[in-house]
Amino acid sequence: MAENSQIKEHTIIISLKNVEKTYITYSESLHILRGVDLEISRGEIVSIMGPSGSGKSTLLNILGLLDTYDSGVYTIADIDTSNLSAKMRQQIRLQKIGFVFQTFNLIQTLTVEQNIELPMNLLKKSQEEQHQRSAELLAEFGMTSKTKKFPYQLSIGEQQRVAIARALVNDPVIVLCDEPTGNLDEENAQIILNHLAKLKQFNTTILIVSHNPSVKEITDRNFILSHGKIQPTEPNQN
């Protein structure tokens, strides 16, 4: 554990320095991010909260390389993202980032197994490797019996577990979760949080954007995003 702690302290996975983002519409200019600074180390679970319109989604889009920023520096796993081509951004999304969405975003025509294997498929990994990895994750999330089911045959809690498994399948350096419990009831929300908490043992870095206060039970650090600025909140008790 001591060794892990060292890694945590010294390996910065995500680094944002003075990142700014402005959206210009016909009628106005919206300065969404006003110099965001954030560092997340390997194995950390971090939450970001904030009122609606505070820029959480914009920040997630930038972190997930789904959107660009106007100024500042954003590095992910020591890769400066400021001048990346679309192809490079696509490759980084595929290899280094896992995505978990509030609405799961599973492909309804693919089975659970195929959904999980999809990112590996895009990386052209062998079928054997894909099956082996998806089997590991399905076992980890207690979904082995659902391997051949389609998403619509699963409960919403199960669908989110499949989504998390898909996010982890390529061993990303960070998993970005947008309201992972937002569509779930309390019981299923707790199950999902427990699963995310378990990922700490694998040194997986997780960033969660949520309104759910229970998220703080599993996080190492919490931030609040307000008026385009990010601030740490009180340290966790656990």
Partner: protein, 351 residues
Amino acid sequence: MALLTDYYSSLTSTFFRPFPEYDQVVERGTSYIQLIPTGSSISLDFQTELDSTFQEHTIPLLIVPNSEDLLSFYNNYIFGVPISQQKELFKSLSLQQGRWPQNSDEIIVGNKYLDMKNMEVLNHNFTIVGVFFPQYSYLDRIIIVDHTKLEQLSNNVGKTSIIFISKAIEANSDKISFFEKDYPEIDVLTTSEIEELHGQIGTFMNNLTQVLSVFTAGASIIFVFSLEVMNLFSRKADFDILRVLGSSSGLILKTIIMENMILLGLGIVIGVPASVGIFSILYAFIIVKVNTEAQFFSSFSKGFRFIFNPFHWELFLQNILIISSAVFGFALLISLIGMHRYQLSQLKQKY
């Protein structure tokens, strides 16, 4: 569209064409015309009178007794033709082996009987002295016997039922018109009239083909296009997810094109033979109906059958190439339009 119609025609004839048997006789190069389908309604006296009139006009006779068992004799076609006129009447068939008959015990036959020296017809042994090689397979079964002999053997003396005259004689239209004036109750169909009739059918079928081709092609394009656009629209969310997860726009385009090609290819594999088959049946049905209505001799209109033409590899490969190119082009077009319309290759912000 004319190109499409021509192509459809070529496609149809590449694989199979329907023809009632009569159609083949007329359309496939014989130089004789059918004159009077008479049958039993004409009295023996009248028949004799007709014969003598033909002789008077020096119109050569091709006679087939009106006997069902004779016509169905081993499914062969037996024609009774005066020996003296066989050479002239059958010159277009080109006797390619042997010689023309010199007496009523000698016959000439189609090349199906190439290896035979003798043949028994109606319990009479004939010597085969000549063989011709017709261009079309059904004619290879023809047996040409002296008409007087055939009448005698089949107990049909004087019962002429079908008479053919050569085109050369038809050209001397006076003889036909004199004949028609003398016998107004006889419906004389000359080659020109038959060709005209077939021309009408042909024109009708061409028009029908053109309308059907335009309609089918238009409807198919709209249908397939709409279906594919709906398909792409319904899967827009899936493509968005793929893009977010790290799929390239090229991979998405490739996926859509492959799907389209498989669907269109399947459609063509099933659709083309089905449409050609249905159209052929329709064509054959119309020909038979017209023949019947025109009171052509019923023994020549026993319904239709499919003739499988020799397989033309060159034409087949050419068609496959054209179809494949069309499928690929259409698949590419739909995919590009769909990609552009729904911005499938663009990265959507999912948070």
